[in-house]
């Protein structure tokens, strides 16, 4: 962020003055007035609820009989490690993340390269149409894909059975195949990632490619030695978003699994389990614990990712 400097050009010297000029005070008053919606909202809808949530995690709060709320120490937190449903939720979430996080980078990257190609005719139409399904509400896409992945009449199994000598799986109803089914469905939501990666590709200076061409680099070499390093910040950003997204995954799992994680717990994602604990079993103390644990996990993941980034993420212009 090199641009920060000219935003607050006189900031330092201005603050060092003992008494603020009338003009500066006026600026502060106006500025605070403009910031006040956010400051109020941050306190009321973020900071205070966060703290209260943390306090809840040490209680057995249940909204049906709030009078019986007691502090129960670390009971909820220790329960995280012994709760069999929690283990299941972990398994489901990690399995999903392992399959779909890499694909959520590779697929939009492939699309971005395609719609950025100088050889593609009518690029803008392709971009718009590849983005289009991202607009479709998740409930609707679960319905449509449910038809596509219907085990008998769905187009997917018809295609599989046409191409291969096997029977297609019962996608939504099969404990093993439901996660791949959700992953396939996820391809429909790659529009944002594609657009961001496309912008990344377009930001690579053409001189670099020209220089590499002069040196005799092939297309693949140019892609792996120029394009990928140059867009690694964008890939990093997407990686972070989709990892965090795995923990927040809810709607698709809720609809396919009838809100219970069907078939047989195979869609009991972390966030779905949190919802069940807090809003079905009304065990809001433990629900708050699950929420805070999620926050801690996401925070650790973010920190770990940021630590690894200087090994593989290249920021042009240093810093």
């Amino acid at each position: 962020m090199t641009t920060t400097n000219h935003i607050f050009p006189a900031g330092r010297t201005f603050m060092q003055r003992k008494s603020l000029s009338k003009l500066a005070r006026r600026e502060i008053h106006w500025g605070l007035a403009f910031l006040s919606p956010w400051i109020f909202g941050f306190l009321v809808f973020t900071l205070i609820p966060m703290v209260v949530s943390l306090i809840f995690s040490f209680t057995n709060y249940n909204p049906i009989h709030p009078g019986q709320t007691k502090f129960i120490g670390l009971t909820n937190w220790l329960r995280l490690f012994t709760d069999p449903f929690m283990t299941q939720a972990w398994k489901v979430t990690l399995r999903f993340a392992l399959i779909s996080v890499p694909l959520s980078i590779l697929f939009p990257l492939g699309l971005a390269v395609l719609v950025n190609s100088e050889y593609l005719f009518a690029k803008n139409i392709f971009r718009t149409l590849f983005y289009l399904p991202t607009m479709i509400p998740i409930v609707v896409s679960v319905i449509i894909w449910g038809g596509i992945m219907n085990s008998e009449t769905g187009w997917l199994n018809r295609a599989i059975e046409f191409l291969l000598p096997v029977q297609g799986p019962r996608w939504y109803q099969d404990e093993f195949w439901v996660i791949p089914a959700l992953t396939i469905m996820g391809f429909w939501g790659v529009g944002n990632a594609m657009v961001v990666m496309l912008a990344g590709l377009q930001g690579v200076p053409t001189e670099l490619y020209d220089a590499a061409k002069v040196d005799g680099a092939t297309g693949w070499q140019r892609f792996f030695h120029i394009t990928l390093p140059m867009i690694s910040p964008v890939i990093f950003y997407q990686l972070m978003l989709s990892l965090i997204g795995s923990f927040q995954y809810f709607t698709q799992a809720y609809i396919i699994g009838n809100g219970r994680g069907d078939p047989n717990g195979a869609t009991l994602f972390y966030n779905l389990y949190l919802y069940r604990v807090a809003f079905n079993f009304l065990d809001m103390g433990y629900g708050a614990t699950l929420a805070w644990a999620m926050f801690i996990i996401v925070l650790i993941l973010t920190i770990v990712l940021f630590k690894t980034q200087n090994r593989w993420v290249y920021y042009a212009g240093g810093e």
């Binding site: 403009f34 699309l111 009838n258 999620m294």
Partner: protein, 355 residues
């Protein structure tokens, strides 16, 4: 390309290059079309299914078609593809027999019955395009789609107004004012992007219930009047790119900061403001979790996302209705997206690339 050696003599260097470019364009575009066709096939599936009757769905043809029939001497007979000495003919089966049958040619019924030796059961029926539009009004009525639309629109529009008002004002505050601690506040704002909303969920839920907002739309609207990190970030980036000379000129003319915002900054930022408005509109249109918890049991207040789950459950028995409702549900967002895609995509780029 391997083709270059073959095309040596008649081409000059530049036309050879043009040919190569043409080949590459054809190949890449073909690849693009293939991927796109597979990618959008579910939309075709949705469209075709919404135009089918239950019987056509049971027949499981790809298109909304029905077996063709022909009325001969007052009765309906199925039309089949019959291989004859004149090639494949489309004939109506009038008298079916085990080893031989009698047909009539619908093009030329006066010629009378055609005797054909062979098993008619192995013949393919002729299908004709036969869509039905009954699924649209039927599904509209079944889940009261009119009410769902109205509810969702009210929530989405009020929330969009709130988001725009608050995010513009706050972004202006972050982009133009020297306030002690503003940099720390901005870092806090950005940090809330990675904060999972579940962390604040339970106390917020209890709070809204306690003030009597459980089972109302208020929890889905009011919080958006207090700005959100993504939108503030996007608008601030945009506002910062507007030259300061412009607002300084306005200030010298005696404009207050509010007037500067209204008459200088906002008119210059229409694309970014459009993007923010659209982001929120689509968010509200698609949001599932919050309506699910706040509108539980209030069917009259349901939004489209929640109302549509009914169809997710009965999909296997009524795919025609479910896909018809799906088509009507996505029509508005898709139309809006086509109209405003430029501003929309720019917005994504600003939030996604320029961290």
């Amino acid at each position: 390309m391997k083709t270059q050696s073959a095309s040596r003599a008649p081409f000059t260097w530049s036309s050879k290059r043009a040919l190569r470019k043409l080949t590459a364009t054809a190949l890449v575009t073909l690849l693009g079309l293939t991927v796109l066709t597979i990618f959008l096939a579910p939309l075709a599936y949705m469209t075709f299914t919404s135009l089918k009757t239950q019987k056509q769905i049971a027949d499981s043809t790809i298109l909304p078609v029905s077996p063709a029939t022909y009325t001969y001497q007052g009765r309906n007979y199925p039309i089949l593809n019959v291989p004859t000495e004149k090639g494949m003919q489309q004939l109506a089966l009038v008298k079916a027999g085990r080893e031989a049958s009698d047909f009539v040619d619908p093009e030329n019924p006066e010629a009378g019955l055609i005797h054909w030796v062979g098993r008619w059961r192995v013949l393919e029926p002729v299908y004709v395009w036969d869509p039905t539009f009954d699924n649209f009004p039927a599904s509209w009525k079944q889940i009261n789609l009119g009410r769902l639309f109205r509810n969702t629109l009210i929530i989405a529009i009020l929330g969009t107004i709130g988001t725009l008002l608050s995010s513009i004002v706050v972004a202006y505050g972050f982009s133009r004012f020297r306030i002690p601690g503003i940099e720390i506040m901005f870092i806090i704002l950005i940090a809330t992007i990675i904060l999972p909303r579940q962390v604040t969920l339970i106390p917020t839920y209890i709070f809204f219930r306690a003030i009597g907002w459980g089972g109302t739309w208020w929890p889905l609207i009011i919080p958006h009047f207090f700005a959100n990190a993504y939108n503030v970030f996007l608008l601030r980036q945009y506002f910062r790119a507007i030259p300061r000379d412009l607002d300084e000129a306005a200030m010298i003319d005696g404009a207050t900061p509010l007037q500067t915002l209204l008459y200088v900054i906002i008119p210059q930022s229409v694309p970014a403001i459009t993007a923010v408005g659209l982001f929120h509109f689509f968010f509200a249109w698609n949001d599932f979790f919050e309506p699910l918890i706040y509108l539980q049991g209030r069917e009259d207040l349901y939004t489209i996302s929640i109302g549509m789950t009914q169809f997710a459950n009965i999909f296997n028995t009524q795919p025609g209705l479910a896909t018809a409702a799906a088509m009507m549900t996505i029509a508005l967002p898709v139309l809006m997206f086509f109209l405003a895609q430029r501003a929309f995509m720019q917005g994504i780029v600003i939030t996604g690339v320029e961290k």
